[in-house]
């Protein structure tokens, strides 16, 4: 088992390297460089050249790639083009906000979708199941920006219950935090609950056909017990993996929720940096998101290994 886990870890690190490389080359593909975009069209060739050499842009691509990678390994993402501050500082002020938003939404989404998925798998084709299926299809077919927009309209514009903009930096009390976070968290979790509940249901329904579930029922176990204590541990791996994939949707969702609620998080920063072609900042954001997602997938993998006695005892 240890060797299996080590193998996954090594593969994870290699994958992260490949991802970082892709981010670097793809984002830097367009001709016309950062110095140009800082100084604008009417810069003289001399000032341009000076800035280039100052930023290290006159070096060959491969050298810049090497320096960039070395920087990341030392935890230094370079300097933002927009205002010349270190990328690390910019990120440090924004990342906790995004983590809070994503974390709270995950805490809401996972239990809700597990319960919905389990309950509808236990009674397939019941009224509850059909309703859940209908709502899930609706939720996963709706773009996140639309969910967020509708929520703003209903809970803020029409009813005025919550603020439409979530400026978390001005929050001081727990109550204030609740007021500000409710709508973004609601929007974000809604956009993943549909997908996760549906996957949980599908995985579990197949598993409930297994003879050992019947055995448990014939021992006198209730359907709930047979489902939760017998079938569920068998599908822990697939469900965790499916959830990790849903979190991919959650990361995409964060982008829209932060933009619509003007929430001061990292993805909002990233969207702005794409528009302004602030490459070092955008590359850093992309690497952080990809790394975060890879870590989630890795955790899911480890849970799947631990949940399977065949893999655990080998």
């Amino acid at each position: 088992m240890i060797s299996l886990i080590l193998k996954r870890l090594v593969l994870g690190v290699l994958t992260l390297w490949l991802v970082a490389t892709l981010v670097f080359w793809v984002s830097g593909a367009l001709p016309g460089d950062a110095a140009q975009s800082i100084l604008g069209q009417d810069a003289t060739p001399e000032t341009l050249a000076a800035l280039r050499s100052q930023m290290g842009l006159d070096q060959p691509e491969i050298v810049r790639y090497w320096n960039w990678l070395k920087g990341i390994l030392q935890g230094d993402f370079g300097v933002s083009l927009a205002n010349g501050t270190p990328v690390n500082d910019v990120i440090a002020s924004r990342l906790p906000n995004s983590l809070l938003l994503a974390g709270l939404s995950t805490l809401v989404a996972i239990p809700v979708s597990l319960i919905l998925g389990i309950a509808s798998a236990m009674k397939p084709n019941s009224v509850f199941d059909r309703l859940t299926t209908f709502l899930s299809i609706l939720a996963l077919s709706t773009p996140s920006f639309l969910i967020a927009t509708i929520i703003v309209l209903v809970f803020s514009v029409w009813s005025g219950l919550f603020p439409a903009l979530s400026n978390i930096s001005r929050v001081e009390t727990i109550g204030g935090l609740f007021r500000v976070m409710t709508l973004p968290v609601l929007a974000l979790s809604l956009s993943v609950i549909g997908q996760m509940a549906r996957m949980t249901r599908a995985i579990l329904i197949t598993q409930l056909q297994e003879p050992y579930v019947e055995t448990a029922m014939l021992k006198g176990a209730s359907r709930l017990r047979a489902t939760v204590l017998h079938a569920l541990p068998n599908v822990a791996g697939p469900i965790v993996n499916a959830s990790a994939l849903s979190l991919n949707a959650l990361i995409s969702g964060v982008v829209f929720v932060e933009v619509i609620f003007a929430y001061p998080g990292l993805t909002k920063l990233m969207v702005d940096s794409v528009s302004s072609r602030d490459l070092p900042l955008m590359q850093a954001c992309a690497v952080i998101f990809c790394a975060g997602f890879l870590v989630l997938v890795l955790i899911a993998d480890l849970i799947a290994i631990l949940a399977n006695p065949k893999l655990r005892t080998e």
């Binding site: 984002s27 077919s141 773009p143 639309l146 927009t149 990233m270 794409v274």
Partner: protein, 283 residues
């Protein structure tokens, strides 16, 4: 049961699919949008760029302007009809391309050596582990935004999921003994892949095409919503929602009409996917 002379396979082709009502409704809605995507430009009641009613921006639904007017006083219905070619067409094209390349790479991985297969699978897993919106943003930053760039980037992002799907379906089929039978007969790989395996995984490919279509439609409209997808003066439905956001507080139809169209498109595809995957299971 009693059709002894008529070929069963022919009968199967001519018959309407035996789908539940809801999925048939989905199919009708989807075909309607495909029709609009193809002919929408010719059928618009107004020029899509024309300021038909500049005095009444973000106007309500009226007899003249069925879905109201937008923030510049343009006819929303006409804008939606011309936007359909992007919102319906681009996901269709990219999902098809991703499926095609996924298929080709999947076949190649099987035919070439084990090392190529492992390396390919790793590369695919890597691309698959990129959060799609984030990476689309990176690509837009790198290549700028244009329709060819969007098509290429999204195709590349979705090839791995198609590849994985093709592979796992094909591996399940290749465990069947009729594949062994073909190998013993001395059949070449081409025969085995295209005659024995492929016909058996078509339902999987169709459902996966549908699922990718939905995700890509959501992704593209999302990019446009952020202003990083289809660029003005052209607009897809995501861009239409975004450019009319100022009308949110009055609940202007200019926001909700394109949003509901998008919703009807993705829901109709989900309903069709459901029907095909149920049929697959019943077999």
């Amino acid at each position: 049961m009693e059709t002894t002379s008529a070929s069963v396979t022919e009968r199967r082709r001519l018959r309407l699919p035996n789908w539940p009502l809801l999925s048939m409704i989905g199919a009708v809605i989807f075909l309607f949008w495909v029709f609009i995507a193809v002919f929408g430009d010719l059928l618009t009641p107004y020029e899509p760029g024309e300021f038909v009613d500049s005095w009444n921006v973000l106007g309500p639904m009226t007899a003249d302007y069925w879905l109201g007017t937008d923030y510049l006083g343009r006819d929303v219905l006409s804008r939606i009809m011309t936007g359909a070619k992007y919102t319906v067409g681009l996901p269709f094209v990219t999902a098809a391309l991703a499926l095609l390349f996924g298929l080709i790479l999947g076949v190649m991985a099987t035919l070439l050596s084990k090392t190529v297969d492992t390396a390919m699978s790793w590369l695919m897993d890597t691309v698959n582990s990129l959060p799609s919106t984030i990476f689309a943003l990176v690509a837009v930053a790198g290549f700028g935004t244009s329709i060819p760039v969007l098509i290429i980037v999204i195709t590349i992002l979705y090839i791995p999921s198609a590849y994985r799907n093709v592979r796992s379906a094909a591996i399940n089929v290749s465990k069947m003994e009729f594949i062994d039978a073909a190998r013993v007969r001395g059949e070449g790989n081409m025969h085995i892949i295209f005659r024995e395996i492929l016909p058996n995984i078509i339902p999987n490919l169709l459902t996966h095409f549908g699922i990718m279509f939905i995700y890509i439609a959501l992704l593209l409209s999302g990019l446009s919503f952020l202003g990083l997808g289809i660029q003005p003066p052209e607009a897809d439905w995501g861009a239409l929602v975004s450019e009319n956001m100022v009308g949110l507080s009055y609940g202007a139809p200019a926001i909700f009409a394109p949003a509901l169209c998008l919703l009807s498109l993705t829901v109709s595809m989900t309903l069709m996917v459901d029907a095909v995957s149920h049929q697959k299971k019943d077999r």
